[in-house]
Symmetry: C2
C-alpha cells in the first residue's frame, strides 16, 4: 500500500475515446499514468503525443501490480472478459475500476474472475460521436457526472480511489448500485436514442413535405439519431434487460395517451410530462455530508444519497 | 379588384402572438394594414405602439370589403366559426386566409359558411412559448416555412396574394393540400411533443438518480415538454385524426423495436432511424419552376412540388 492511497498511479487499459481521454486527464492532474492498447496504432499515437503506452498487456499489468496502480478497464464490453482473465493472472490484487456504460454485467464478469475484492465500477457520462485515440480530450470529463458504484461488499478505500480519480478529472461523483445505475441510464440515455430513431422514421415516412416543414421540435427530438448506429446498438443491446422494462413502460404511456386523444384530450399526458420536465430543470446536486466511505452503513447511505441526486465531494 | 392585386391592404383578425406579429410585419413591408381584436387590451397595446386597430369587428370587416383587403383569420380554432359568420355577413367577397395550425378543419368551416371561393389556407411554422400582442415580433416569420394550401378549386389570384404576403414577411412558401399538411405536421410537430412528454415522464419515473444522470440526449429530447400544456393540448387535439394515425404507426415501430431488442438486436431501428435523420439533414428547398398559379393543372403540380419539398418564389 502506498502512503498516499488516494493518488496512486493510473493504468488505463484501452486507449479509445474514453480511455485515451482518461490517460490525458490523469497526466494533466499531475498523476503518474500509463496505458495499454491492443492495436499498435493508438499506442503509437499516444507515444507520439508524449504519453507512456504499450501494446504489451502482461508487462503493463505487472508494472501496475508493482506500483499499486489503480487499473481502469476502458475497453468495449465484448473485450472485458479477456482483460479480466489477464488481470487475474498478472495483477490479481490491484485496485480495479472500469468506464464501461453498463455496470451489472461488468460486475458479474469481475466476480466470475474472482476480482471483486478491490473492484469498484465507474461510468463517466461523457462522450462524443467520435472514437479512437485521436478523438480524446483531457477535458472530456469536466462537469460530467461520473457514477461510482456502491454494491454489497464494496471496499471503501478502493471506492475513494476511484472517486478521487473522477474528481481529479473534473467530474461530479454520483454513487449508485450497479443495477440501479443500469435502470437509470436506460431511462435517460438509451430510451432517448430509441425515441429519436422512431421520430426520425416518422418524419421521413411523411416524405419531403414533412421533412421540409420540420422545425425546432423535430430537429432537437431527432438529434441523437445522427449517432452512428453501431454505437447506439452497443449501448442499447448492452443494457437490454433494463431497456426492455423502460420500453414496455413507455409503450403503456403512449398507448394510454393514444386512447385519451381518441377520447378528445391529451391533458393528462401534457400536464404530467410538463411537471416531469420542470422537475428535471430544477434538479440540484447537493453534497453528501456526514458519512465517509467505510463508516458504519456507508453503502446504503451512499446508495440512498445517489437516489436523491446527491454527489460526493472531497 | 385593385390594379395591383398582389399587394392589397391587410386586415388581421386577432392580435395575439401570430396576428400581432403579422400586423407588424405587414406594416414593416410598407403595406397598408389594420387589425381587430376582441379584447380591448391588445387593441390598446397596438394603438399605443402606433398601429391601426379596433375592437369593432363589423366596422373592421366593412372597411376590409371597401378596400379589397386580404383578410387574415388569426384567432384560435374555437373562435374561427364566429369570425367566419361575421365575414359572411359583412365582407363575403374578400380574399381570405388564416394562420391556424390545422388546415382541413378550417377549410371545412370556411366551406360551411359559403366562403371557399376566395379562401386559401395558410400556416406559418413559427411561434414562441409566449402569447399576446406584447409577445409579437415583426421578424417572427423570417426564414420560417409558411404553408399555403392548394385544395381543389383554389383561386389562383387569391393563392398568389396569400403567398406574396408570406414572402413579404420573409418566409419560405411551401404549397400543400390541407389534409396532407395536417398529416405532415402530425409527424414533425405534434408527435415530437408527445414523445418529449413521454420521455420526460420516463426520466422522472427513475427519480432523482435518473434525472441527476441525464445529459444531452435527455435534455434535447424533452425540450418541448417545457411548453405550456394547454398549448400542446390545443395543437394535438386540433389535429387528432392525423395524430392518431401517426401515433399508431409509431407504436408499431416501437413495439417491433422492443421485440427485436428482446431477440438481441436494435440494428434494424438504428440503421433506419439514422438514414431518416440523414435525409432530414440533407433536405433541400429547390424552387418551383415552369408553372404559375392558374396555369393548366397548377394545383396538382403545386401539390406534387410541395411533396418534394419545393418552395414557391416570385
Amino acid at each position: 500500500m502506498s502512503s498516499e492511497p488516494s493518488t496512486p498511479p493510473v493504468c488505463v487499459l484501452g486507449l479509445g475515446l474514453i480511455g485515451g481521454s482518461l490517460l490525458r486527464a490523469a497526466v494533466a492532474t499531475g498523476r503518474q499514468a500509463f496505458g495499454w492498447n491492443r492495436s499498435s496504432q493508438a499506442v503509437e499515437g499516444a507515444v507520439a503525443d508524449g504519453f507512456d503506452a504499450s501494446t504489451d498487456l502482461t508487462a503493463t499489468l505487472r508494472r501496475a501490480a508493482e506500483n499499486d496502480a489503480l487499473v481502469v478497464i476502458a475497453v468495449p464490453m465484448p473485450a472485458v472478459d479477456g482483460i479480466l482473465a489477464a488481470i487475474a493472472e498478472h495483477a490479481p490484487d490491484v485496485t480495479l475500476t472500469d468506464v464501461v456504460s453498463v455496470k451489472a454485467q461488468v460486475a458479474a464478469a469481475v466476480a466470475a474472475h474472482g476480482l471483486s475484492r478491490r473492484f469498484v465500477g465507474g461510468h463517466p457520462m461523457a462522450g462524443t460521436a467520435e472514437s479512437g485515440w485521436t478523438a480524446g480530450d483531457a477535458d472530456l470529463f469536466r462537469d460530467a457526472v461520473w457514477v461510482v458504484t456502491v454494491d454489497d461488499g464494496t471496499d471503501p478505500e478502493a471506492w475513494r480511489q476511484v472517486a478521487e480519480l473522477a474528481l481529479d478529472c473534473g467530474s461530479v461523483v454520483v454513487p449508485a448500485e450497479s443495477r440501479e445505475h443500469d435502470a437509470a441510464v436506460a431511462r435517460i440515455s438509451h430510451l432517448p436514442h430509441v425515441l429519436a430513431e422512431a421520430l426520425a422514421l416518422s418524419g421521413a415516412e411523411g416524405g419531403d413535405l414533412a421533412l421540409g416543414l420540420a422545425a425546432g421540435s423535430f430537429r432537437d427530438g431527432t438529434r441523437v439519431a445522427a449517432t452512428a448506429p453501431a454505437l447506439v446498438d452497443a449501448m442499447c443491446e448492452g443494457n437490454a434487460v433494463a431497456l426492455l422494462d423502460v420500453l414496455d413502460e413507455t409503450l403503456r404511456v403512449l398507448s394510454a395517451a393514444r386512447e385519451q386523444l381518441a377520447a378528445g384530450s391529451t391533458s393528462e399526458l401534457t400536464r404530467a410530462g410538463h411537471a416531469a420536465r420542470q422537475r428535471y430543470e430544477q434538479r440540484r446536486r447537493d453534497p453528501i455530508t456526514g458519512t465517509q466511505p467505510g463508516d458504519e452503513g456507508w453503502i446504503e447511505t451512499f446508495r440512498e444519497a445517489g437516489r436523491k441526486g446527491r454527489v460526493w465531494a472531497r
